[in-house]
């Protein structure tokens, strides 16, 4: 470009052409050369590029992923997002979880149908009468994917890593029920041998707890409690390093039913059946391909053209159409999560419990979930989802606009008079927006109060909630395990996820002291009911709905039942070739 012809001459052909026709002859020759050259180059580049586009892309159909997958036993899963990574002690998130549980296995796993614990690395286990000591007997057949036997010491090393203050494991708290684990993770205790995990021999692991924890076995299925292969990690760095390459294909040594085969960022992760897995006879799939699709519209379309066996979610507005289909491929199952509004009880006007109750009673949850949410969720009147392992929360209020108006009048705002205004904060998301719009209008209609909506980008929103810079903010909470405790412990005084200003010593005592020491489930649940009653009466939260998991599942898939945790056990999944999507899909 810098060598454009004529640039070195002092004559300016362009200029002279315009002013002095006499030089036009020579000038034209020059322009001609230049124009020809320019044109030729442009054509050459253009032709080349267009043919490259056509050749590399070419047209034509080809076999769909589902067809080839059914033939070869490869499952194609739409998995929402590119995982942060595959180090079980460095990542969080549902997409990560789905991949990790194909590559690793905990001591105990959950049956996808019943959620009851069943053998993983541990063949069997015993629990002491006081519920404090768990003894795990490892399966002698349990191997790492390089063929080495999994030892009790591997778990000790791994839990040391998972809890170590320098690892920065966000899920370290999953192991806090273990004796001294919390103190170790906080750096108050330097000696890991004081933590309640010990090897009785090569294949026997003894775990001592801080207090009885009825849901402890469930935690063993969480990736924070997985073992990693110590030698592999040390080969690529220190025990507590987050940045090393040990999770790359070819490096990663796991102990799950599948091995990491290939990983192309933002394209796919491929895993294939692990021949050293102890229960390999019962693994039906030959492999899984995880597709990181962070776009709901697209994943539904990919499902429609047979590119994935299962979607991550379903776009809200597609649900009615799918529901109407005979033998619908749409699946909706109760999910252990609650959607609620946090109330900052230190901010006027919601510092008055009567106002909070009035607001809550003026939300027509039945109408909201039926219309705006297309019945994909269930109205909620409590923090803990009803039926969490047999727990029935108290229902302390209903939709009652008249009573709500009375309460509001008592609080000094009859018919909304003198109302100082209120702001609902939500993070930018279509579903949150819709709910907020509907609730905004319900409050205006039933109470006569005006409310403004504010959406913030995710990190800003998280920051606002954390620093208490809000009046009402949306929040969703998904249980870490199936137990009321995972919801109620949020509201302990000063808890990191409380964020409401709610502080009640009696509540704290019930949840953190009395319930864990209860002898029977009935007594324990009674404490929880009492605690939740105190919570809902104070109303630092306005429960809105209980989540359901919802997804599309190809008819060829078997062994993938819905359950409260949306928990997946790849061992159970089979593909039946020959089953097609219904014609009505097109």
């Amino acid at each position: 470009m810098a060598a454009a012809p004529g640039s070195a001459t002092s004559r300016n052909p362009w200029f002279s052409l315009a002013t002095d026709p006499s030089t036009a002859a020579t000038t034209r020759g020059w322009v001609e050369t230049l124009a020809t050259r320019y044109r030729q180059t442009a054509w050459a580049v253009g032709t080349l590029a267009l043919s490259a586009l056509l050749i590399t892309t070419g047209c034509g159909g080809g076999e769909s992923n589902v067809d080839s997958g059914n033939r070869d036993g490869i499952f194609h899963l739409a998995n929402a997002a590119e995982p942060q990574g595959l180090d079980p002690h460095a990542v969080t998130g549902v997409p990560e979880n789905r991949i990790l549980r194909s590559l690793f296995e905990g001591l105990v796993v959950k049956n996808p149908y019943t959620l009851e614990p069943e053998p993983g690395v541990a063949q069997r286990w015993t629990i002491s009468d006081d519920g404090l000591v768990y003894t795990f007997h490892l399966n002698p057949e349990a191997r790492w994917s390089n063929g080495e036997v999994i030892n009790a010491s591997d778990f000790i090393w791994s839990w040391n890593r998972a809890l170590h203050p320098e690892t920065g494991n966000r899920n370290a708290y999953m192991l806090y029920p273990v004796k001294n684990a919390e103190r170790y993770a906080k750096g108050e205790l330097k000696d890991f041998t004081a933590v309640g995990i010990a090897a009785l021999d090569e294949s026997t692991l003894e775990v001592t707890l801080e207090a009885p924890t009825p849901y402890f076995l469930q935690l063993m299925d969480h990736y924070a409690a997985y073992a990693v292969h110590p030698e592999t990690l040390l080969q690529f760095g220190e025990m507590t390093d987050r940045f090393t390459a040990w999770t790359r294909p070819g490096n990663l040594i796991g102990n799950g039913a599948f091995n990491l085969d290939d990983w192309a960022m933002n394209r796919f992760i491929k895993v294939r059946k692990n021949d050293t897995y102890w229960d390999r006879e019962n693994v039906s799939l030959n492999g899984i391909v995880y597709h990181p699709i962070d776009n709901q519209t697209l994943e539904e379309r990919m499902f429609r053209v047979g590119q994935v066996h299962r979607t991550y979610e379903v776009p809200l507005d597609k649900v009615p159409d799918y529901r109407q289909m005979p033998d619908t491929l749409y699946h909706q199952d109760p999910y252990i999560g609650t959607y609620y509004y946090l109330v900052n009880i230190d901010k006027s006007p919601v510092d008055d419990p009567r106002v909070r109750r009035a607001l809550s009673m003026a939300v027509d949850r039945e109408l909201l979930t039926r219309s705006v949410m297309q019945s994909i969720v269930t109205p909620a009147y409590s923090m803990v989802p009803p039926g969490t392992l047999g727990y029935q929360p108290p229902q302390l209020f209903t939709f009652d606009p008249a009573a709500a108006r009375e309460l509001l009048a008592e609080a000094g705002y009859p018919g909304g008079e003198g109302w100082p205004g209120l702001e609902i904060l939500y993070n930018t998301h279509e579903a949150h927006r819709k709910i907020a719009i509907a609730i905004q209008q319900m409050w205006k209609k039933h109470l006569g109060v005006t409310v403004t909506l504010t959406n913030q980008e995710w990190k800003v929103y998280s920051d606002s909630v954390k620093t208490g810079d809000y009046q009402i903010a949306r929040r969703g909470w998904i249980g870490d395990y199936v137990d009321p405790n995972t919801f109620l412990e949020l509201f302990l005084t000063g808890g990191g996820n409380n964020n409401t200003g709610f502080a009640d010593p009696i509540f704290d005592n019930l949840v953190s002291q009395k319930a864990p020491r209860a002898k029977t489930r009935e007594v324990r649940y009674a404490y929880f009911v009492e605690a939740e009653t105190r919570l809902i009466e104070t109303m630092p939260i306005i429960p809105i709905y209980t989540y359901n998991s919802r997804y599309l599942l190809h008819p060829s898939v078997e062994g993938m039942p819905g359950n409260l945790m949306d928990s997946l056990n790849w061992k159970y999944v089979t593909l039946v070739p020959g089953r097609q999507l219904p014609d009505a899909m097109q």
Partner: protein
């Protein structure tokens, strides 16, 4: 010319340095850090994470450490994806975005340029109205709308083309390239029409016509070069803007390019990733703006005097 190039390249050093510095401090000022999530992070965990990423050092030390690494070509580890370096992520996404952008711009120039020139030759006739109407529809049609629409028609109803991916299935590059290209094609068409109209009314074109040259020669040899100057001025930033612009297309079609990282890094407060993509983007902008200035000069020799005279 050489002097001009050297001086512009020298100018680019402070430009990039200022961009890096401003970005470094701007992202730190934004609320919410890379480790904040809805679920509170335990204080002890936060401390450990900050120590691992050296966020516990004083800000100015972090800044100079970053600059030091930058001069050695090291953009640091990603905050969002532990175990991956920013260099690695850029290297994996760049060829894809570059390819996508190249096809898109090609489509834009070929289709938009042709339409604009033809329209300008016979203003206010059918030859003008039809391509310009299409161009306007193209402008109205943002890629978040055009992309899904094309997918619906060609991918789902007609089953002609794959609906997502890049280089995974035959034909999967067509829809994304067309989607990204059409927005630019519309701009190119409008700008080249305007530029051509401007030039066609100038003296030297009249002179050329008066000399009895055939119309096509007048257009191709004389008018085109001046007429596409506004397009070239637009192309500089457009090229660089592709990186940000391809975000939408990359999201719609699940293309593993750089655009997604550029935008998501900001949402994730992935400090090193934001800086890495910004350094990269600023280099691109400096380069393409320079290129477009040079091209404009080359197309318009009147300007060349400036480079030679050292004005």
């Amino acid at each position: 010319m050489l002097k001009f190039l050297i001086s512009r390249l020298l100018q680019s050093v402070p430009v990039i340095l200022i961009v890096v510095t401003a970005t470094f401090f701007l992202v730190r000022a934004a609320p919410g850090g890379p480790f904040d999530e809805e679920k509170a992070v335990l204080p002890e965990v936060r401390k450990a994470l900050e120590a691992q990423y050296k966020l516990d050092l004083p800000l100015h030390e972090q800044y100079f450490a970053y600059l030091g690494d930058l001069f050695q070509g090291d953009l640091g580890p990603s905050f969002k994806y532990p175990g991956r370096s920013v260099n690695e992520i850029l290297a994996s996404g760049l060829p894809i975005t570059a390819e996508l952008g190249f096809y898109a711009l090609l489509i834009a120039l070929v289709i938009g340029g042709t339409a604009g020139v033809f329209a300008a030759l016979k203003p206010n006739t059918k030859q003008d109205y039809i391509p310009m109407t299409l161009a306007m529809v193209g402008i109205c049609m943002p890629s978040f709308l055009l992309g899904p629409l094309l997918v619906l028609v060609f991918g789902i109803y007609l089953e002609l083309l794959p609906i997502a991916g890049w280089g995974m299935l035959p034909g999967d590059k067509i829809l994304p390239s067309v989607t990204l290209g059409s927005a630019y094609a519309a701009y190119v068409a409008r700008l080249s029409r305007a530029g051509m109209l401007e030039v066609l009314s100038q003296d030297y074109i009249r002179t050329a016509r008066a000399k009895g040259l055939p119309e096509w020669q007048v257009v191709v040899r004389h008018a085109l070069r001046g007429g596409i100057i506004p397009v070239v001025a637009f192309l500089g930033p457009a090229f660089a803007g592709l990186l940000a612009g391809s975000f939408v297309v990359e999201t719609i079609f699940q293309i593993p390019g750089l655009g997604r990282f550029y935008v998501q890094a900001a949402f994730n407060r992935d400090y090193t990733m934001i800086l890495g993509t910004t350094v990269f983007l600023s280099t691109l902008i400096v380069f393409f703006n320079l290129l477009s200035d040079v091209a404009a000069a080359w197309l318009n020799p009147r300007l060349r005097a400036q480079f030679q005279g050292g004005k």
